[in-house]
């Protein structure tokens, strides 16, 4: 009888776990000087630290199947690949040599896991000068650990910022660079084939880190959903809204929601894909105010908002189960908010200052 009871309890527990729509996950955060912090979301504590050999992490990106984590580092322009299951580094190398340096802040791996696309510059050290290349799309071979193909961006796309997240279509034929416009690139020859007049909302101090969460939560494979803004050509009023980009067909739809605030973070999406969250920043310096905004992604409309204490610089994320919102950096703590009430819940103290690499959550 006792065995039967235990069996029923085990069966009930398994069924509950299977029916559970989302669970708290494991969070990866970059830490100074050269760590990845592994954080248990349920406990709110660092459970493991992964030392990176190539230096300070500047970006993280989960593979499409969720099995590998790609981290790029700035100290020696490195790329490190972490196996999510074992949390071991399975590939690690630096692109820099004594005579050549690279500058880039992130990238995306293709589905084969062989090639890694980055956007950056190459610096060659000469006898009496440095030669700095134009900004280029580069393809890194993760097996030979070298840049194997490059192509300059078009002259109109040569902007100062290295920032600008990259996305790859599921068929691997198209690369998207999200900057002040969306640049569409044919991966076969790295030539720009199209531009979309949509920009990812961004502001100094809040880095482009929304891709870690937003992309990982896509309910429709091959589709990228995020907040974008556009402006009219005459008055230059900016309007923000939800854009859905079909990565294979290069088609996008844009549904305007309202006038853009001074700054808007990326979109974080709940696991069921129904709700989106962002942070709006109004004002600057001493008069700065920060608000969470919540959206209904089925109807593309704003639902509600709530003010929270601003940090001068911060990043925004959402928990694996979609129940918590995170405000983190600059510094060593994560402020946790309830995603339903948008009210503060708790704060976690970590073991390292958080880098600009963003947040990746696995379940």
């Amino acid at each position: 009888m006792k065995t039967l009871r235990l069996g029923l309890i085990a069966l009930w527990a398994a069924a509950t776990a299977a029916l559970s729509p989302a669970q708290a996950g494991t969070m990866f955060l970059g830490g100074y000087p050269s760590q990845l912090m592994v954080i248990d979301e349920a406990k709110g504590a660092v459970t493991q630290e992964i030392d990176l050999k190539t230096g300070l992490p500047m970006s993280m990106r989960l593979s499409d199947d969720g099995k590998l984590l790609y981290a790029t580092t700035i100290t020696t322009s490195g790329i490190e690949v972490v196996d999510i299951a074992t949390r071991k580094i399975v590939n690690s190398f630096s692109l820099n040599t004594p005579g050549v340096r690279y500058r880039f802040t992130g990238g995306v791996a293709d589905r084969s896991g062989r090639y890694f696309y980055i956007l950056g510059t190459r610096i060659d050290k000469g006898v009496d000068s440095y030669r700095i290349s134009k900004q280029q799309f580069m393809v890194v071979d993760l097996q030979t650990k070298a840049v194997v193909r490059t192509a300059d961006l078009e002259p109109d796309d040569q902007k100062f910022s290295f920032r600008g997240a990259l996305m790859l279509s599921p068929d691997g034929k198209t690369l998207y660079a999200f900057r002040d416009k969306v640049i569409v690139v044919n991966t076969a020859d790295l030539k720009t084939v199209d531009h979309f007049d949509l920009a990812k909302p961004d502001f100094p101090g809040m880095q482009e880190v929304s891709f870690g969460g937003g992309v990982g939560r896509l309910q429709t494979p091959g589709q990228f959903v995020s907040l974008f803004e556009t402006e009219d050509p005459y008055i230059h009023n900016k309007t923000f809204g939800v854009a859905r980009l079909d990565l294979d067909t290069r088609q996008f739809s844009f549904t305007p929601i309202g006038p853009s605030p001074k700054a808007l973070s990326g979109l974080e999406v709940s696991p069921d894909g129904k709700f989106g969250y962002t942070v709006a920043v109004i004002g600057d310096l001493g008069s700065q105010r920060c608000e969470f905004w919540r959206f209904d992604l089925d109807k593309n409309r704003a639902l509600d908002k709530a003010e929270f204490p601003c940090r001068r610089r911060f990043y925004f994320g959402i928990s694996g189960d979609g129940r918590k919102l995170y405000i983190y950096g600059a510094g060593f703590d994560v402020a946790v908010y309830d995603a339903k009430t948008l009210k503060p819940a708790t704060a976690w103290e970590l073991t390292h200052d958080i880098t600009m690499s963003g947040m990746v959550i696995t379940r």
């Binding site: 100074y32 008055i235 060593f332 073991t351 600009m356």
Partner: protein, 112 residues
């Protein structure tokens, strides 16, 4: 530059061309793209105010406490005079200090 007056025809033409640019009619809300510097590598061309003041000349825009801001400025050369240059000269400056707010005394010394 209003105290300068053109004294020959060429200077006059330059002055006219400059004033035409300045007095162009634009929509009230039009904001041209701000010109940003090209910083090829490292910090050599960047000069910003120090820790004492923010971009508006006050203190309200600084991180609280300011030590929260040390590391991201160390990486991006935002305050290159006050903070070491991670990319070019001081990659190990912070290697003994995981949390700047708590352990800033462990930061390395940098000598020119």
């Amino acid at each position: 530059m209003k105290h300068l007056r053109p004294i020959n025809r060429k200077a006059e033409r330059i002055d006219q061309a400059a004033s035409m640019t300045e007095e162009d009619v634009v929509a009230l809300q039009q904001q041209p793209d701000p010109k940003k510097p090209h910083v090829p590598m490292g910090c050599s061309l960047a000069f910003f105010p120090g820790w004492e003041v923010d971009a508006g000349g006050g203190t309200a825009g600084l991180c609280q406490p300011v030590e929260r801001d040390i590391y991201d400025c160390y990486v991006t050369c935002f305050w290159p005079v006050q903070v070491a240059d991670h990319v070019n000269y001081s990659p190990d400056w912070a290697s003994n200090c995981a949390i700047a707010t708590k352990d800033w005394r462990k930061l390395d010394l940098v000598f020119p």
